[in-house]
Symmetry: C2
């Protein structure tokens, strides 16, 4: 097990319905030293890529993205979730359906902050059904920018979206891929174990 | 002028209605090197305070809080905005009215992540009418924790909330206090100039 898998085993909580709660260190309380290890690891995995922008989505992607950005010396842009488009200046817009909240949102990024010269590393905390990620990829494409890589903390491997994205040729690196969870025993199985 | 005031003059945009847009470096695209300077500066201003937790509020406070947290070796907790309370486990709840969006929200923090032993530094990007900050202070008080300090990037000094909070005895440190703005000329005047 790597450092993140170990932490999930130690502090993650498995709940019914394939819910993995990691709010004590990842997405409500945030362990900055852990995020730094994640930054180091992403830097290794995307070695040789020229990355000049980190793209994430509010809210829980922002903290990880900001720490990871230190390892790439790049600014972070976060996509905003919006129910109604507030077009002040021009925005890239993509539709996103939330797995957790079962609602549809739009995500928006100002055109000022993403353009054809940008080589983008997308960062997020979770990859489940991948809708947020699809929205971010759509926005990078709308901008004429390039997705150099996708770095995810925790991927739910039993949902197929990660494979779909890899099959399309993206370098998708998830630090922990959960292949199965058992709410009764609390056990989490990771890919490669 | 300090480094943040200089950046505001260089890249901030003044709009009608006392709106200061700083989305190219602070709250949509985020300049991580700038955030590191802010972390260094807050570390100086809160020297001698024992801080073991950083509290902020989604979304635009999170990035700054995570970088600032590196200078205090403390985890970050971010308050979530919620229209309807989703009480899974017990939550601290406070009411917040958004200046920008003219709506009322609740902010919530899990009771797991804030308690009587916590010495809290509150971090946020903006202080205007202060409602978000009042909500965060309320949550710290509900937890029986202590507000050791409040670190703000940009305070709108022409709104009185900052003074109210200082008068109550909190150490409120704003890196740039805007005393007036002129949308016609684009000029920004800072306190102490």
């Amino acid at each position: 097990m790597n450092f993140l898998e170990e932490r999930i085993v130690k502090d993650g909580i498995v709940k019914e319905g394939n819910v993995l709660k990691v709010d004590s260190f990842l997405n409500h309380q945030m362990d900055i030293e852990l995020f730094e290890k994640m930054g180091e690891e992403f830097k290794k995995r995307f070695e040789g890529k020229e990355i000049n922008k980190i793209l994430t989505i509010e809210a829980s992607g922002i903290g990880i993205a900001c720490i990871v950005a230190r390892y790439f010396n790049a600014p972070v842009v976060f996509a905003k979730k919006s129910k109604s488009i507030n077009i002040e200046g021009e925005m890239y817009v993509a539709d996103v359906v939330s797995f957790t909240h079962k609602n549809a949102n739009q995500v928006i990024v100002s055109k000022k902050f993403l353009g054809p010269n940008d080589k983008v590393l997308i960062i997020d905390d979770f990859l489940a059904n991948g809708c947020a990620l699809q929205g971010l990829i759509s926005i990078v494409n709308q901008a004429g920018a390039t997705v150099e890589g996708i770095g995810i903390a925790i991927e739910k491997g039993f949902q197929l979206e990660g494979n779909v994205i890899r099959n399309m040729g993206f370098q998708l690196e998830s630090l922990a891929i959960v292949d199965s969870m058992d709410a009764a025993t609390g056990e989490v199985k990771f890919r490669g174990q």
